[in-house]
Amino acid sequence: MISPFFKIILRMLHNYQIYIKGLVQGVGFRPFIYKMASEMELTGSVYNTSDGIYILIQSSETNKNTFIDKIITNKPAIAEIEEISVKETNRIIPENNKFSIVTSDFGNNSITRISPDIAICNDCLNDVKKQVHRLHYPFINCTHCGPRFSIIKSLPYDRDSTTMNSFKMCPICQTEYNDTKDRRFHAQPIACNTCGPVYRMKNSQGIYTEDYNTILSSIKECIIKGGIVTLKGIGGYNLICNATNPNAIKRLRKIKMRPQKPFAVMFYDKSQAEKYVFINNDELQLLTSWRRPIVLLRERQKICSNGLNDGYRTLGVMLPYMLIHHDLLESKEIEAIVITSANSDGEPIITQNNEARCKFEQTTDLVIEYNRDIYNREDDSVTHVISGKSRIIRRSRGYVPEPIRSDLHVEGIFAVGADLNNAFAIGKNKDIILSQYIGNMQEKENQIFFETSMFHFFQIFRFSPKQIICDSHPEYFSTAIATKYSIQHSVPLLHVQHHHAHAAAVMAEYNLNEDVLAVCLDGTGYGDDGCSWGGEIIKCNYTSYNRLTHIEYMPLPGGNAVSKEPWRMVISYLHDKSGIRTLYPDDFIERIGKKKINIIEMMMDRNVLSPLSSSAGRLFDTVSSLMGICDINTYQSEAAIKLEQLADIECKEFYPINRSNPLDFKNLVKQIAKDYQLGVPISVLSSRFHNTLVYSLAHTIHYFSKKTNINKIILSGGVFQNKLLSNLLIKQLTAKKLHVFFPSKIPCNDGSIAIGQIAIAAALKKNK
């Protein structure tokens, strides 16, 4: 018999369904809901669906409102709520006076967000010192930390759909997993010393050990002695060595076939790092965030006398994100480690145990593996701070597969991106999901990486392309892949101009569905006139663009070879057909040789293999080689980066800008050549160059802004990785009351081309 009083209460209660979309899976959301509902004594259930979280509660209206407010204010740190919808429902709630977590439900086509990998949290760092079954357990994790994207094979995010599926939980872990009050309630990668993955190391007798302490001390010993260790990380294998040891670094360079490019360094914590670099608040936030990217920081003093980051005043720094990193550095016997991907430079990071053994057992001193598979390969992400905002240079671990939410319907669009710093993207509903950094598509291994990741993305996000987008460059490998796919699967193909895509990517990040002015400065992109573009000011929206002006065309003597050999551009900028004595600096002539210079001049005069280009990247190359900073790039943009590094940031001098055509820099280059010959210091000349370029650009942008009545300015293209240039230009444009939009969540280089391609395609489709 139900009492009459109880009946009244029953009438006041309603059944509600609450849908939450966003980053809500794999971040401890269901336990959080469970805890709160139980505390508030609500009955009902919560479960993951393929597009988010579904909650069913029986509650009074006031309680329901409190419940929702609490969800929003107290949500787990990493979770992001994008949409929350509440409705009354007729769905029956089992009358057991309890709140429960129901196992996953496979839903419709839409998908929820998958969390990126999360650095080990402080609670777990404590647990390894206290929890008996997890003492020193290196693969400890909880609902707030641990591997996510790197181990996921399909949705919804459950243990079975990750590479943890081969590990059977021990009874203790199982209890924690089921215990709603436990920090590891439904933590999918839950593991402990009894049941989880383990490190393995082959000792000098060829016998394997799995004892973590032995392994740890072997690694330490090896690093202290100057050795190189191959260590399996989160997204792939790393090579590590002592950051203070030039000989170890020299050897590492040989093994990686990476002659010059700086390495990143891992410090134990902020105070260790601060001995060597300056860290401001924005940088600190980035450095200590759960994403744990590499952050490029200004050097205070050199950590290694030579070979680590020669010619640089910045250092790539990161903090530990796996327990083993903490354990290696905590005792401070090792000041810092160089940590880099295990591969030949330019190839994908190795993920397979057998491949690591085969490639690095001979060449390095120690190979440490563990027995959980890496399903999605990821590099460390690289970031820096420009004008008080975090900017991403290489987007991978800790960021992927976080979507860019657009206000366009992008469903079914697959974009292959460009050929360098490649990343592809897929469109789900309104989400543009960018793949991890893939690299240079000319490398066979990277093409395989591309295809594997593409397959994984299609599978994980239940995606099948209805349209495919590529760059308009006819000779890109990515274009070839897209064309082939389009034919084989009868999917329509759309070509998108490179710089329009650069602009559209930033528009998508800021949801700017309107006319904007875009400044696209990069190395090269295929232009509509068949020339190589790269210093463009365009007026555009998603569906159309109009090239307003560009850096004056210059020949590229030797075509493709120019981007590797900056010295060619010096001749391009300084050679005068009319026979006026050319101003090559004496040391330039000495380094290159008169004969070679003559031949290059003749190539240009006779228009042999000298296509025209408006590239900003090549302008930087010119100035760099002109002053003897870098004649030949051993890695991408070396000449330009070193030029920036040498600039004296206090120097405010500049050359007069060219009023008749501000983007014609021939005279600027001649002026620099002259002053260099006269002995003006490189640091001053580099600053004057940056300053003059910025003035010329700001002047031009201002002019077109007034002319077109548009005050939203987009800055995009790889050249904007230059912090000095970006800071100066943003400052000047802002002073002119212009709104500047600079990519923050996505790279400004070709790594974001795929996003722009998707946005353009979606907008074109809508317009039809």
Binding site: M257, S344, G346, E347, A418, D419, L420, N421, Q442, E443, K444, E445, Q447, H473, P474, E475, Y476, F477, A480, D522, G523, T524, G525, Y526, G530, S532, G534, L556, P557, G558, G559, N560, A561, V562, S563, K564, R568, K595, K596, N598, I599, I600, M602, M603, R606, V608, L609, P611, S613, S615, G617, Q636, G718, N749, D750
Partner: protein, 329 residues
């Protein structure tokens, strides 16, 4: 040379220049066409047109090219070349001396390749209607008994042999035409390779593919073979013979020797077990001294051409359409 219009001038060209130079019983029939004896077996027939600027270049001229090109095309079918036709389109005003030089080179090249020019045609056109001289040659030859040579035959386990140093012709033309002033002149490699092919085919029981990598160079030819035969091809950068002069010219020009035209180079694809034997046979011929095994055929449905670089990495070598456009951002 004046504009003839089929009249007296053409007649005198024929009797004063062509007939004496190319003299042979079939041509001397002075008929509307050549009448040739029928052979047993199968005939192969090919044609090619030659336009080149400049007409004369270190190592040869348009005349050699016209003979060697067609002869080599026949050789690629596993054929012993016999008869050639030659058609000339000549721009009014071309100096007689030049024509004479070209004709005598053709005669010499034909003699070296052991072929006879049995029929021909000449047209002189108004200034501007053609560029100095265009030559077309066609060739007929007899397929060697028991040979089955076709790009379709490339299969996993085969090796790729190149008969000599690559890239000479293309670099020679480019540097001569534009007078770029390289320190060493690169000579064109134009040659007919009858002896190499004969030696190889009579010495090795199984040769799958023979191709001459002319326009588009090694990369185009091998890409074509890969896609026709549905196999992948893997080259070793360090094994590919390139002369020092071509190498440094390529470096300066920003070109990749793999994409540069050759006129006296053959590619052979044959089973790995005959690789060394074949290499020796090829090296026995004067034009084959620098022959090398440069790669192998692998079974891979992707049908792509890749190259292991000296850094041990694998690069995809695609077919580039025209001028190499900058790709790097």
């Amino acid at each position: 040379l004046g504009h003839g219009g089929g009249g007296k001038l053409t007649q005198s060209l024929l009797s004063d220049l062509f007939f004496p130079a190319f003299a042979n019983p079939f041509l001397n029939q002075q008929h509307d066409g050549a009448i040739l004896p029928v052979h047993d077996g199968r005939l192969a027939y090919t044609t090619d047109s030659f336009v080149v600027d400049p007409l004369f270049f270190p190592g040869g001229n348009i005349g050699d090219l016209a003979i060697n090109g067609t002869v080599n095309d026949l050789l690629c079918c596993g054929v012993i070349p016999h008869y050639l036709s030659a058609g000339f389109i000549i721009e009014e005003g071309l100096p007689f001396d030049i024509l004479k030089k070209i004709i005598s080179s053709m005669a010499k090249a034909a003699q070296e390749a052991n072929v006879v020019i049995v029929t021909g045609d000449t047209k002189v056109v108004e200034r501007g209607k053609c560029d100095k001289i265009f030559i077309n040659t066609s060739g007929i030859g007899v397929v060697r008994p028991d040979t089955q040579i076709s790009p379709l035959n490339a299969q996993p386990g085969d090796v790729i042999i190149v008969s000599g140093q690559i890239g000479a012709h293309g670099i020679c033309i480019l540097s001569t035409r534009d007078n770029l002033g390289f320190e060493t002149t690169v000579k064109s490699d134009t040659a007919s390779l009858v002896d190499i092919v004969e030696n190889l085919l009579s010495g090795v029981p199984e040769v799958h593919v023979i191709r001459d990598p002319t326009r588009g160079g090694l990369s185009s030819t091998l890409n074509e073979i890969a896609s026709t035969a549905h196999v992948s091809i893997e080259l070793e950068e360090e094994q590919i013979p390139v002369s020092e002069a071509v190498c440094s010219a390529c470096e300066l020009l920003g070109l990749d020797p793999l994409y540069i035209a050759n006129e006296g180079i053959m590619l052979f694809i044959l089973p790995g077990k005959y690789a060394e034997e074949a290499l020796q046979l090829i090296r026995n011929s004067p034009h084959g001294k620098n022959a090398a095994i440069i790669g192998r055929v692998i079974g891979d449905e992707k049908a792509e051409l890749s190259m292991k670089t000296s850094f041990g990495r694998k690069r995809i070598i695609d077919m580039v359409s025209g001028e190499q456009l900058p790709r790097i951002c």
